[in-house]
């Protein structure tokens, strides 16, 4: 299952990239999944799990104070779970754990925002010094790192349990498993088209992409 210390540190850094520091999108499921796969020796499985989770998250935009799923640490946990359970069951488990952990991450982000509100000085209640701003800012960044690491550590515990309890229980073939997961991803994909203008406005472009690449993949 890899070095837990490295994975927990990676989880902390991925959490930082999501909002607090940089936002270079290393925390997107596609990237976080592949990097975790690399660390654990299976980048292809990491890319597969990360790519599928990415499709589920495609219609979600982090607008204002909206509830949005976190990509980094949950995908890391999902890939660890996928590698812990061999075969098609591992792929299903990895995607599901990634999705469920993203909800847990959303709760932790909500709590972090509340904590940030208390830590950050309120300019209406008196003069805010520059030292206090810097200290409060760095404390909030540190808390976010801790949140990501804790979320990852919890996920590693689950993956350890899954590696002993779940192997051999998944009865479906790999193609049927992927079919179910892609079918599920089609629903958020439909919502994505709607939020970007709907089928009347964008249907032709969607059909051109789908038809063109379908024919190309069959012919080539």
């Amino acid at each position: 299952m890899g070095d837990p210390f490295v994975l927990i540190l990676l989880g902390g850094f991925l959490a930082l990239d999501d909002t607090s520091v940089g936002q270079f999108m290393v925390s997107r499921p596609l990237v976080a999944g592949t990097i975790t796969g690399w660390v654990l020796g299976d980048p292809f499985l990491g890319l597969l799990v990360g790519g599928l989770i990415e499709l589920y998250f495609i219609p979600v935009f982090p607008v204002g104070g909206s509830d949005f799923p976190e990509g980094g640490p949950p995908t890391l946990v999902g890939v660890v779970a996928a590698i812990a359970v061999p075969g098609a069951g591992g792929i299903a488990l990895g995607v599901v754990v990634g999705l469920l952990w993203s909800r847990l991450a959303a709760v932790s982000i909500h709590l972090l925002r509340k904590a940030n509100g208390r830590i950050m000085p309120d300019p209406t209640r008196g003069v805010v010094s520059s030292k206090r701003i810097v200290r409060a800012h760095l404390t909030c960044v540190g808390l976010d790192f801790f949140r990501g690491s804790a979320l990852t550590a919890l996920g590693l515990g689950f993956a350890r349990w899954a590696s002993s309890a779940l192997p051999g229980l998944w009865p479906l073939s790999p193609s049927l498993t992927l079919g179910i997961l892609i079918l599920g991803a089609a629903i958020p994909a439909g919502a994505f088209v709607r939020s970007l203008g709907g089928w009347r406005k964008r249907g032709v472009l969607f059909a051109a992409g789908a038809g063109g690449f379908l024919i190309a993949s069959v012919l080539l």
């Binding site: 799923p69 300019p123 193609s175 919502a191 939020s195 993949s217």
Partner: protein, 222 residues
């Protein structure tokens, strides 16, 4: 970027402007800690402009009014340009690349390079334009016609989404999966998603998790 983040980011400029005036610095930090909310990338445009205004010695009330005026438009423009445009375009284009046979390393590298090219262009370029133009940042923004660019990006994102699904179904066919029933079900899923709207990702997540949990349970019982 919110109030305290803005104050943190502008600190180096304020320290230079109010060198030898600790009371002035305190007052300025306090002013910039007030509520501010804009898209994290485009906020740099406002940051650059406010740096210029502070360096030019503009009145605090004028700076406050400027920040109030730009935060809303920069927020909504950034949301449509980046979160609903550039990010999905680059993510989906990378997925197309992966499905076309690119290695995991090439896929991730392609995504990070293309996404961050636009990202850093907005951040660094926005700050530079803001710093050069001060409160007159509206003119270069209007020339770029960013809402129009956001619409183009949205169109590209939908095209790449179609491409991803086309490739997935096509790949399934090459591995012996029946394309027609799966294609029809994916089509139904797309229609269902577009009917239910953006919030559908939440209950889809629970439905897929519940289904997979039930399949594991069946495997355990059997």
């Amino acid at each position: 970027m919110i109030g305290a983040g803005f104050a943190f980011s502008i600190l180096p400029t304020l320290r230079r402007v109010y060198e030898g005036d600790p009371e002035g610095l305190k007052e300025a930090v306090n002013r910039h800690s007030e509520h501010f909310n804009a898209h994290p990338y485009l906020a740099n445009l406002a940051l650059g402009a406010v740096c210029r205004m502070e360096m030019d010695g503009k009145a605090p009330e004028e700076i406050r009014r400027f920040k109030l005026a730009v935060r809303g438009p920069l927020g909504s423009l950034g949301d449509s340009l980046v979160w609903a445009g550039w990010r999905p375009v680059t993510v989906l284009a990378s997925l197309v690349l992966a499905l076309a046979g690119a290695s995991p390393g090439a896929t991730v590298l392609f995504f990070l390079l293309t996404y961050n090219l636009g990202h850093l262009l907005l951040r660094v370029g926005g700050f530079a334009v803001g710093l050069a133009r001060g409160s007159q940042v509206g003119d270069p923004l209007r020339k770029l016609s960013l809402p129009h660019q956001a619409d183009r990006l949205a169109a590209m994102a939908v095209f790449f989404l179609g491409s991803v699904l086309g490739l997935v179904i096509g790949r399934g066919w090459t591995f012996g999966v029946s394309v027609l029933p799966w294609g029809a079900m994916v089509g139904l899923g797309l229609i269902l998603g577009s009917r239910l709207g953006q919030g559908s990702w939440r209950w889809t997540l629970w439905a897929v998790s519940g289904l997979c949990g039930a399949i594991f349970l069946i495997g355990w019982i059997a």
